[in-house]
Symmetry: C2
Subunit: 201 residues, 2 copies
DNA sequence: GATAAAGTATACGATATCGTGTACTTTATT
DNA sequence: AATAAAGTACACGATATCGTATACTTTATC
């Protein structure tokens, strides 16, 4: 690993920290360079502008979260058990400090401009794609009764995110405690399973 | 209505449009003044800074949305009927162009800084308070079975917002069509009602 | 230890925006 | 028509940030 690679890495780390702490627009190229112990000129040699740097940061942080994406519906396991697993996965994703910080940046940029939304959200929504496919497959296997996978997923994710994510991301409430989190997942899963069972009867 | 009041009104209208079109930070005092056909000096006489102006804009726009806040649980009417009504109310709120634009601004500012979140979100979350109280009262009356009002509200709102709001606010998807909207409300309400009924049996 | 690649320090020019100061003009009121 | 309040035009000074140019220094490699 040459000197250049080292600097490059330092820059990325500094950029992550700066972006997460101050958000995209409040972060200056100068402050990133400073934090990375790198001259501004070097920074600009590695990244021609802030946008490019943000893209790299988003990509990098998404990799950390990637393991959470995979979820496969298994017709041979009880629904409630799988729901619990899924719920815990969503919760883990959404309660991850990295995810919270990163998603704030992405959401702000996406809401600010449609162009940015297209560029960033594409990568970002991959996070949820795996989780959505579980519902699609469960529905295909007839495990959701007459409930459509779209509404099913919306109710399930929506509930968890409403309590465990948006309140933190927007209102800066403290992260859900262990006990509250468990209660949320339990109740959501049970309620959901009951609704499905009732629609199948 | 004196000349001053007229100008004041022009400023507010211009500020609403500018903020909604460009968001808080991309909007300059100059552009607001220009759009209001007012000199910058006059603008500063009415509002000492951008933040103050934003507060007024938020307050003003919230008043338009206020009617949507009131929802009262009625123990003598069927649950499903009330749920439908509630769902349509949420949908109407969330599909309102003013609400979409305003909420974008508020959310961006809230996510950007905890201080702003405290200042703005307080006013803003009133929107949902009335809707939340419905669930609290329904639960108190025993109409939700063993489902907690918090999780109930989260599932119900969460589902609708997930599909009818966040996709628009973040990913700039088109507003839900008449037909899709009706399907969403129907399915959500029925699913919810089934879950409640099953838990009461 | 010479050479080239990479990095640094520093100072630019170009913008953009903020909020204010000043002297002049319009409007309403008596 | 005189007076005062409100508004205007315009030009500041103060910052802040961008991205680049230039001349010097460090580091790796032969």
């Amino acid at each position: 690993m040459g000197r250049s690679d080292n600097k490059h890495n330092d820059i990325l780390c500094a950029a992550i920290r700066e972006f997460c702490e101050k958000g995209m627009m409040a972060t200056t190229m100068e402050s990133i360079a400073c934090r990375a112990n790198v001259s501004k000129r070097t920074l600009y040699k590695h990244y021609p502008c802030k946008e490019t740097l943000l893209d790299s940061v988003v990509t990098l942080l998404l990799e950390r979260i990637e393991p959470l994406q995979k979820s496969h519906y298994d017709p041979n396991r009880p629904l409630l058990e799988q729901l619990r697993e899924l719920g815990n996965k969503v919760l883990a994703l959404v309660c991850d400090e990295d995810y919270l910080r990163l998603s704030r940046i992405v959401i702000i940029e996406s809401m600010r401009s449609e162009r940015e939304a297209l560029r960033l959200n594409e990568k970002f929504s991959d996070c949820e794609r795996g989780l959505h496919s579980w519902f699609a497959n469960a529905a295909k296997a007839g495990a959701l009764g007459n409930l459509s996978p779209m509404v099913g997923a919306a109710m399930f994710y929506g509930a968890i995110k409403e309590v465990a994510y948006w309140d933190q991301a927007i209102s800066w409430k403290p992260m859900l405690g262990e006990k509250e989190a468990r209660a949320l997942i339990n109740e959501t899963c049970e309620c959901f399973a009951r609704a499905v069972a009732a629609s199948q009867a």
